[in-house]
Symmetry: C2
Subunit: 507 residues, 2 copies
Amino acid sequence: MKKMATTFILPCIFLFSISSSGFSSAKITPRFPSSIVRPEQLSVSSQTELYEAKYFTQLLDHFNYQPQSYRTFQQRYLINDKYWGGADKLAPIFVYTGNEGDIEWFAQNTGFMFDTAPHFQALLVFIEHRFYGKSIPFGGDTNVAYSNASTLGYLSSTQALADYATLIIDLKKNLSATNSPVVVFGGSYGGMLAAWFRLKYPHVAIGALASSAPILNFENITSPYTFNNIITQDFRSESENCYKVIKGSWEQIEETAMKNGGLEVLRKSFRICKNYISGGAIENWLSTAYVYTAMTDYPTPSNFLSPMPAYPVKQMCKAIDDPAQGNDTFAKLYGAANVYYNYTGTAACFDLADDSDPHGLGEWTWQACTEMIMPVNANNEESIFPVSTWNYSNRAAFCKFAFDIEPRPNWITTEFGGHDIKRVLKRFGSNIIFFNGLRDPWSGGGVLESISKSIVAIVAKDGAHHVDLRFATSEDPEWLQDVRKREVKIITKWFSEYYHDLAHHFS
Amino acid sequence: MKKMATTFILPCIFLFSISSSGFSSAKITPRFPSSIVRPEQLSVSSQTELYEAKYFTQLLDHFNYQPQSYRTFQQRYLINDKYWGGADKLAPIFVYTGNEGDIEWFAQNTGFMFDTAPHFQALLVFIEHRFYGKSIPFGGDTNVAYSNASTLGYLSSTQALADYATLIIDLKKNLSATNSPVVVFGGSYGGMLAAWFRLKYPHVAIGALASSAPILNFENITSPYTFNNIITQDFRSESENCYKVIKGSWEQIEETAMKNGGLEVLRKSFRICKNYISGGAIENWLSTAYVYTAMTDYPTPSNFLSPMPAYPVKQMCKAIDDPAQGNDTFAKLYGAANVYYNYTGTAACFDLADDSDPHGLGEWTWQACTEMIMPVNANNEESIFPVSTWNYSNRAAFCKFAFDIEPRPNWITTEFGGHDIKRVLKRFGSNIIFFNGLRDPWSGGGVLESISKSIVAIVAKDGAHHVDLRFATSEDPEWLQDVRKREVKIITKWFSEYYHDLAHHFS
């Protein structure tokens, strides 16, 4: 029924799938083949030392008072008090506002909090988003929780934010740390939640580091072409040939797929497993690789979505520009795809029908069908992708089909704003850092200019998706070190203001 | 079942009723006898010219996505465009964030908006709170909407605020007035909603005038004795004798009620109708008069809760101090009660069992049983009232009995804050006026000190419950004229900043 797994980080694929192949393509939406997912390379010795998992009894519905609103569920959070200065010292609490997946995955990819905790003597807390990971309402039973709109209906951003407020307040009480300042951190959708949390719950968090948070990717605030334009530019900046080969390849794939025996040619060219193949599926599979590689075009080897070399877009273009492949477009593309799908070189074949979801991102489809309506278009001439047109009706039809639900495309801007954000927040709010890396396609929907003295945009020309939040490595370029230094400096200022105000308050 | 009608403006009575007589006293909770309620004296020629009533199709549940969340209801709003400068001129929109009752009643008692609209060329909009007046979900059928927690469950402050945001955004679109600045106004609970609206929806309203909004009356932020202490002080400030007579009367009433034939003595003394009497009911009836009179101790004749002379507390004490009554305490009290209950002199007898609710305030009981948990205590030595002890368990037991529901006493501070408000809002938020009159018992839970340059407290020593919002009259004392002038000046500044920012934004 709702097999069209998709994630926050891939709405364009969500779109491709619908527009190019209709609902039946649900099964072939690209995903992260579990065969090549391995634990993140951590800069600390062992994951088990990173944190302890705990559970909080959370209210199902914060905003209503029906009998069913009072049901509770077990919400997981990860905690690390190794560096904490303690409640007596009013030492701070760093909270990660979990996004659409297993919280352990986000914790392991948010090294910035671990790296800076000793300096700040901070308690670390990572809260899992309801309906993801092990934080499943309805007794933890996903068969029930994910079954239909009457249970999934409690999966919303406002409920998640209220979860975080409730949990943080309770945790601070239990630790007798009411006066310890809280700063929230988040990347991507988690970054949106962090920014919104600071705006909606200033009494709970004194500041937010919102990394790669496309809070302006709603309605018509950001051009729907931006997302794909950035990816196009990423590849084009490596080489014009790389861009042209990819851009020209879609027609060739479609023509080949329609020929007699063409699918077998494609299967062989791309080492696709025997169980399933189609031209559209190959296109999705390749598009996914380009999109995710652009997003995670980090300056050091990483394993956020899959194991990748440093500067993977450059590596992809190197494969495409490789003179050894001559005019064999498919061989070039295969080389590029390998950078994303098979960097470890262990894949025997690529299973286009694999719908495993190792990071537990599946319920994003529900969110994309209710409130997270972020238009992405690819029908402009420059686009490196196959032509696809954003069409709200298509999304609505899919959501009707998948969940019998109608999206509310205006809700996010109604609840959180977005229009005229510079004017609105110029004289309202404070203490938010919006980080964006301009190689990240999501940066187009981010806050790229500082709004006030304390609502600050940090923009890294060479940065990718929340690169600042990753564990520091000895190979980090200077600009990345500088970004993190700036962030630490700003957060330090928040604390000194806080302690100053608190002292004044008590005196 | 849930006959214990009570209102935002009378939680102490809510408390008395429970603590002194148990649940069975539900029927005798004081209310506003409909016999003496007449339309407000308006400074404009006719009420019908004040506004036009319209309806907006509103979503039942903004925060969830169950099939039932998508149900809609007709939300009433009153609109007056007589003074509006129009969308082309970016002329402002004044919105009253309706509280717990019929919106016409609040509109008629918020003359400040009508009085200042010509100057500001403002469009006037008064939005009715869901579940009150004619804004009843479930097809407008109160038998269904009020029947139990599964329908009443949608009555909450967060839903109301989201209603206001949704309606305002839609209205501005329809009027092509997206760039017209909105300022929200509210008194009492409506003032709380106005302040919270500015904090939560800064992208919808550029400022808020929150009059007599006791947003600090939750948890332990404000002493539970404050409410009754202020009333005590109000009467004591008129005369020590007045205070002593009232304070000493409760014992006398209780003793009389227990004597043979004593209830008939009380009936005769207070002209109580034949159908129902008890000592506790008399006490509630008198307490109500003192509380409401203190709240509406306006400097001019008024008819907010009932028709009253100017300075009614003074009038009550005058009756009590009247030497003509000698030592007859009941006669003195009767004279005082007449100021509140029978100023027009038309009441034949007072019906203690009358549970009419002319302003439609009844569903406040639900709100007081879910999130509006405002502790009020009267067990201190000075209190002018009978001893009563705030006890959360009593409230919880009543709510279990009345609605089979458990209050969530920490929710309001979780969602809206309140603790350390000076520290929290010192560097966050802007453009809120908190008006309080210190003779108003609710002022104890209000914001009485300015927090920042643009979050400003206006305090009137001689003011009562949202007196600033009332229609101006030629008898208004100078301090009241000054308060309103200050408010107009501050709002003017908000607009000039807004237009400046907007011009900058577009240039």
